[in-house]
Subunit: 354 residues, 5 copies
Amino acid sequence: MAFKSFPPPGSPPGVLEHRAGRQTYPSRLCLIWYDGDRLEENANANAEDFLKYQDRAGIRWLHLEGLEDLTLLQDLGAQLGLHVLALEDVVEGRAPVKVEDYSDYLFIVSRLPTDLEEFQDEQISIFLGADFLLSVQESHIDHFAIIRERLRHGQGQIRQHGADYLAYTLLDFAVDSWFPILGNLGERLDQIEDRLLNEPLGQPTTELQGLRRQLLRGRRLMWPLRESINYLLHHEGVLISERSRIYLRDCYDHTFQIIDLLENYRDMASGLIEVYLSSLNTRLNEVMKVLTVIATIFIPLNFLASLYGMNFKTNVSSWNMPELSWPFGYPFALGLMLIVALAMVIYFKRKKWI
Amino acid sequence: MAFKSFPPPGSPPGVLEHRAGRQTYPSRLCLIWYDGDRLEENANANAEDFLKYQDRAGIRWLHLEGLEDLTLLQDLGAQLGLHVLALEDVVEGRAPVKVEDYSDYLFIVSRLPTDLEEFQDEQISIFLGADFLLSVQESHIDHFAIIRERLRHGQGQIRQHGADYLAYTLLDFAVDSWFPILGNLGERLDQIEDRLLNEPLGQPTTELQGLRRQLLRGRRLMWPLRESINYLLHHEGVLISERSRIYLRDCYDHTFQIIDLLENYRDMASGLIEVYLSSLNTRLNEVMKVLTVIATIFIPLNFLASLYGMNFKTNVSSWNMPELSWPFGYPFALGLMLIVALAMVIYFKRKKWI
Amino acid sequence: MAFKSFPPPGSPPGVLEHRAGRQTYPSRLCLIWYDGDRLEENANANAEDFLKYQDRAGIRWLHLEGLEDLTLLQDLGAQLGLHVLALEDVVEGRAPVKVEDYSDYLFIVSRLPTDLEEFQDEQISIFLGADFLLSVQESHIDHFAIIRERLRHGQGQIRQHGADYLAYTLLDFAVDSWFPILGNLGERLDQIEDRLLNEPLGQPTTELQGLRRQLLRGRRLMWPLRESINYLLHHEGVLISERSRIYLRDCYDHTFQIIDLLENYRDMASGLIEVYLSSLNTRLNEVMKVLTVIATIFIPLNFLASLYGMNFKTNVSSWNMPELSWPFGYPFALGLMLIVALAMVIYFKRKKWI
Amino acid sequence: MAFKSFPPPGSPPGVLEHRAGRQTYPSRLCLIWYDGDRLEENANANAEDFLKYQDRAGIRWLHLEGLEDLTLLQDLGAQLGLHVLALEDVVEGRAPVKVEDYSDYLFIVSRLPTDLEEFQDEQISIFLGADFLLSVQESHIDHFAIIRERLRHGQGQIRQHGADYLAYTLLDFAVDSWFPILGNLGERLDQIEDRLLNEPLGQPTTELQGLRRQLLRGRRLMWPLRESINYLLHHEGVLISERSRIYLRDCYDHTFQIIDLLENYRDMASGLIEVYLSSLNTRLNEVMKVLTVIATIFIPLNFLASLYGMNFKTNVSSWNMPELSWPFGYPFALGLMLIVALAMVIYFKRKKWI
Amino acid sequence: MAFKSFPPPGSPPGVLEHRAGRQTYPSRLCLIWYDGDRLEENANANAEDFLKYQDRAGIRWLHLEGLEDLTLLQDLGAQLGLHVLALEDVVEGRAPVKVEDYSDYLFIVSRLPTDLEEFQDEQISIFLGADFLLSVQESHIDHFAIIRERLRHGQGQIRQHGADYLAYTLLDFAVDSWFPILGNLGERLDQIEDRLLNEPLGQPTTELQGLRRQLLRGRRLMWPLRESINYLLHHEGVLISERSRIYLRDCYDHTFQIIDLLENYRDMASGLIEVYLSSLNTRLNEVMKVLTVIATIFIPLNFLASLYGMNFKTNVSSWNMPELSWPFGYPFALGLMLIVALAMVIYFKRKKWI
């Protein structure tokens, strides 16, 4: 877990440093400038390239992948006037999902899944200004290729809107990326359910606990994301236009759907554990009933057989096991056993055990 | 589950497209125009028919069944000035239950049950404008036949009120449709309870978990429905008249009753699981007690019988099983057994096991 | 359960009709007019009698028992200007506990217990106007005899105050009527607790679940009642005088006490179930320990006895059970058994099982 | 429980009457008048003595012990202008913990413990006016001796402040009195924990349930007390001075500490029950394992021994138990048994049961 | 536990006294005066040294370690105008985590861990004035050495900001100090999890309960800390500058992370207990199944063997155990046993027990 690398208490805030033992990737800055008509793209920009577009209207989208080069981030921060605490959050990569208002710009933190199987994810940090958007991610996974594509071809309304719409697009992407993970989790739950029906004692608790933990993590991630989007929805300021709010409302609905699914799965997982434990109990009852029925029928019979296996000498006196010398001694013994067994069976029948 | 067909992250919003693998039904538009005196009905209208009534006072109710023909929906949206995100919600059919205010009209999403046995339902989308109401459903189930009937015959006050009252009527219908489902669920719970009394080990957990899951789904559906109606109740705007609000309050009460029933059933289901598990435990105790009593009485007896079945040669020395040659050896052995058995019985009596 | 008779979805609101299969009682209207000095009473009034007192100052209390005659209720509604939706709530008899403000009058719904043993109750509906109060109950149980008595004899302050004080008196009655029920429930819980101490395996779960369900019902009834009284306490309007508010505060305290008792009992019931299950487990442990101790001591002994009961022929070779011919064979066998038994006992002592 | 003596529903409010079956103590009124310099005390005052100090500045503290003499209370109420509903709350002695604002005075209800072992307590009612404080308790336990002492000797700031500070002093006393009770509860929990470690099957559930119930009671008492103090802290009015508020804040912190302790103990009690149940389960497993190992090893051995104890006649044919006549029949049988036993032991070793 | 030393109820507030039985450490006052350029430090100051810097701009930080010398604290309080109730909170050392506004200064209470293994901690009290900060701790652990170091070398912005930034630095330290504790707890949870996988019956409940209790304590400490920082964030007043608020927001995020970790661990601990109990149940089932299979197969066989070990005299009549004299009696008996055993095995195979 990540907590071991927390900075020692008392270290000064706002220092950009890599966490010990954390993998970093080479930094790559991609700069896209666009307005309704034109789009210019520089896939390998430096911090100064940003200045070229300063006097031109239109939106500048800076996307930084990899945090190896902290100077680049620092330069960007200086150019755009970003607060060093926000930059520290970007570098540390474990800020809570949130929106912070720095008046000139909004600092939005969300998380993107990096692995469909496990609830692995990385931080995506967005600085939304009036005419620029800086997004930072840690890995080199090309999450936003599809959005660049939409920008290039002017698909949908993305080129007609401002930077706030671009921020919405990224956030919407961040939200929707969780659906495949959920689909995956749902399938695993379904598999466990199927397995449990066929093989009721398959000990699924450990696996279900693992899933539950992931669902709880998802929940703890999704609720602040929802709150963040709600904050943007009701943010009073010029950075979010009225037109974009309606789109954010749609994005808000998606978080609602995800939370709904998460709750569903949580109920399902809890339910499966309960079903498992209850079937364990039922099974134990059944096992014990079989043992008890067999044992309690045969134990008295066995006693009778042992009784007539005793070696008391019948010739010493007529008190000593005279049954052994009866002509019908054996049938008598068998009959006795039959009666005892029948009585037992009737008793169990009455108790509805057999 | 439906999550598998969520649009891939990054796709542009506001695109009307059918979800992959989802069944659609042919589109059929029914247009009803009415005021207090007259009513005109066109069961197979097209988007332009709507315009005919533009200059006439009165209410226009457009009801669209089936979403195969997305162009029809798009045309309707253009005519009525509906936002494309709302239309996307209509087409996708899995929007959360909600009310959205687009100033000129309200967009209301609710759900209608399509199957009495299972908690199957479909989305019903309502656009409420000042003088029109557009309702859209996916299937061809004729939910609202009774309401059209009431409109035609001017039953109740439905023709005297505006479009808001019609919206209330549809919402009220959507709420009341859940009562039969609940009745059904209640009956199944009663059946399980009866069965559990007769046959305490019938393993009802799986079934009860299923019911519980449906109840939770009902709850997750009903709470936002209640909130939506509450929102309409307190909505400040001209679209909802003061007169209709009193009726919405009645509808609000119904959601209250449904939630109350759902909670009741949830308690009942949880209680039944607890009763079941507890009776499993009691049963196990009883079984174990019978086994223990029988076994612990007979095991020492059996030992005694086996003891005197040993073949030590009595003629070698007088130390070797002299009991076998006693004249009253056998009665002595039987007496010993009786004493042991009685001691055990008294012990168990004291422990209140028998 | 009552849900089976819910009106079919889509039926028009505000229609006064008896629910199918519900018992109704003949309607009887009692009219009492009073002011500080005088009181006139008509135990068998009709809707028009009400008009006689229209011009006279003072309070008119109309109390309707039985709902067979819906016309009477309708006439009363017309005379007093009551909304048809409120009247529908009265007739249906399953409205949630609530207060509704219709500006000219308040519509208050509460519930009165009709049976001390079970949580059976009926709806009591109160319309509180400036100078009149209409109360409606379904059954002929004479709940309010004592209040009429207080009115007739001018006991307490009841004749000095307005209709709001009369409404408070009825509500206070409705709240206080639950105390005997709670006393009853408490006694049953005490009985179960006593029984559980004497006879720990008496399977009280089903009964406790029943009680718990009733307590939950009480809770679901009492919380909205509390909220309703709170609403009246803070209602801004002329219908509730400042002087009566202090009395309502007292009534509010009583709901607090009832909820406190309900919570107490709920904890008690849950605690009893836990104690029961835990004592089941303890008992099972004890039973198993006895079985295990007896069985594991005697099983090896029995084996030894059976061993020396084998019939290998000692005359064939000196390898065949020479023990049988030892002069001290039998004492040797007994000694062996004793040693085994002692070893077992010591083992169990060490494990603290005996 | 106290609910049995609730007044019958419908009885008029504001009547001062003793609850049936409740013990009352003789009434004793103690009047203390003080200002910064002087203090006069009358340990056996009557209602009129109060008037003597009417014209003199300073604070009058009336403390009434015992409620036998309801006339005295009524006279006091009349002199001080107290509402009859508040007096009724005083007499009944089961009002919820609360603060009520009667504009001229505040009516504060709290509870004082009367027994260190059990959660026994009595109501303490405080009427706080501008220049007087009336406190009423039911029993003759001299709770406030220490406060009178502080008044007499002018210890601390108590003589420099107004009646509000005196009220704070009493409330602070009422809060702090719960600490010893909590200490007691904590010790009992510690004892149970110790006992559970030594003797894991000591069935502590009933006792822990009792403690839990007391902790819940404490919680239900402490939360409204906290709310009451918070109400006083933020009460807008002249009765509470700014200077006294800081002291009330301190008292508020104490309720916080008590609630924290209560929560702590509740967790502890729940944890102990869980530990107990889990150790029951572990123990049962251990017991069953021993039984199973012993039984499954010896049962096959026993069978073999019984087998060779059969009496088939070897002289009839060579098919009948030829082993009995083998020279090494007995060693063969013993060897067989050894092999079976070893196989079993190896099997259990592999399963890690032994 | 600490509750035993609570002051007796009724003792006057605002008295500085050591709690009985509590260890105190010698008092040592360290005074640091600094502004952007200069820094003066007196590691062994007395209360009057403070006055020297009264006329000079800049920040005075007084740090008091150890509370043996209450006069020193009292003098400091007098010099700085601190309220005696706040000082009492400092001396008692068990005030809840809180912020109190005394207009001229803020009184902040937090807690610092003193032991990495256990959740041991001590109170740290901070008085934040316009140009001074007084911090008090009980022990001599030199928590803040690193912060003094930063001050001396002017690292970060600490010398450029006011006393509010210093307060933030201390609070941030107090928050971050909990991370190593959490790391420790997390490691112990991981160890328990590993152990549980290898040795499923290791009875981890007691240890997990202990961890859970510590996690709950952490939670009860962290929530009010979070609220306190939130209070400072939104505090309206001159004591907290706008510039410092951004840093407090960062500190607020850290509490968020800690609470998140705590919740994580709590889920983990609960999950481990569930996994343990479920594996206990599974294990019991397995054990019982083995016992049942072995016992129910051999019990009937044993009975048959005992049966033919009976000593009925075959020479008395042909009814007495004629099987013993059959030429193939023994093979017949063995065959019978084989059939019974096979039937049993097939039965168990069908039931999927083996």
